[in-house]
């Protein structure tokens, strides 16, 4: 075997090598734990944009220096980081939001949502998004409104965006 290949595959356990291993392990843990966290989608609430069982990453750096804006798909944490909601921001603080016969109304105007497919008959009286909150809804509106988790959530719970 080529000595360089052998040294690469079977390195001697020198202090420099162990330090490299430690640095790679620590940076991997920090990157995938706090910057770009892997996740698997469970459920149909974001279909057809995000399908059940698909793999993705949450890019957490997105909101380190900015806030979520309308149209963003965001991950929202619950008790911790292991389970998150994946929803779309449809309104931000201070805006009014409502559903009339399946159409989303923001600030008293209907919103064209190209990402929503299938029939929707939702009706929700107008309400205002409170300060420090964003209004989140899934793309799949073909399920009954009562079975769909949506509503306003604190900005502090927004973790990031899916990478693709």
């Amino acid at each position: 075997m080529n000595p360089r290949l052998r040294a690469f595959l079977f390195p001697s356990l020198s202090p420099a090598f162990l330090l490299r291993v430690l640095l790679v392990a620590a940076s991997t843990y920090l990157f995938f734990g706090f910057v770009c966290t892997p996740f698997v989608i469970r459920g149909q609430s974001m279909e057809p944009s995000y399908r059940d069982g698909r793999f993705n990453f949450i890019w957490k750096a997105k909101y380190w220096f900015s806030k979520p804006s309308k149209g963003d798909v965001v991950a929202v944490r619950l008790a911790g980081n292991r389970v998150v909601y994946l929803k779309r921001v449809v309104a931000v603080a201070g805006e009014s939001v409502a559903f009339r016969d399946g159409t989303l109304w923001v600030q008293g105007r209907p919103v064209a949502e190209s990402y929503v497919q299938g029939p929707c008959g939702w009706n929700l009286p107008e309400r205002e998004v409170e300060p420090g909150q964003v209004y989140l809804v899934g793309d799949n509106r073909s399920m009954p409104m009562e079975e769909h988790d949506f509503g306003q959530a604190s900005l502090l719970r927004v973790q990031g965006v899916p990478l693709w």
């Binding site: 929202v76 008790a79 909601y85 949506f150």
Partner: protein, 165 residues
């Protein structure tokens, strides 16, 4: 011979340490165990008979204080609830579903000055109804447990509304 004795002594020491760790858990591990037992109790395998369902529902008193305060607006459940009533809810739920899997994620535990344990966790419920419809619910739940007669019992349960319609 000396080496063999040392290995045996090290093995014995590890076994003893593990036994002490297992038999005398810290109060945090006691609460964690209780919460995991609760999740297992609420889960249901396919083909569970009526007797097993009744037996399982009766075990509610092993997990809930009398009374237990509930704040679960999403389920129209609020107020003081006795373990017998929880057992009835549990039996009704078990009879509506074919399978139920209850899992806890991100379980964190804090203790207050009065010795009560405050837990926060994400509860994920998956399964199928009797009509073969999929069940998929996720909620953040906060609970307060107090030790009564050597058992950690839930005396308050709050289902957090992460998304408020």
């Amino acid at each position: 011979m000396v080496t063999r004795n040392r290995i045996l002594a090290a093995f014995g020491f590890i076994l003893l340490a593990w036994g002490l760790w297992y038999l005398f858990p810290t109060r945090e591990r006691q609460v964690r165990r209780q919460m995991n037992a609760l999740a297992q109790w609420a889960s249901k395998d396919a083909g569970e008979g009526a007797l097993a369902a009744v037996q399982a529902a009766r075990e509610a008193k092993d997990f809930f204080a009398d009374p237990c305060e509930w704040q679960a607006d999403a389920f129209n459940l609020s107020g003081q609830v006795a373990p017998d009533e929880i057992a009835r809810y549990e039996f009704a739920a078990r009879s509506r579903f074919d399978t139920l899997s209850v899992k806890l994620y991100d379980l964190s535990i804090d203790f207050s000055q009065d010795g009560a344990a405050h837990v926060t966790t994400t509860v994920r419920v998956e399964g199928t109804s009797k009509e073969a419809d999929p069940v998929n619910e996720t909620h953040e739940v906060r609970g307060t447990l107090a030790k009564q007669d050597g058992k950690w019992l839930l005396k308050k349960v709050t289902v957090v509304e992460v998304l408020r319609k």
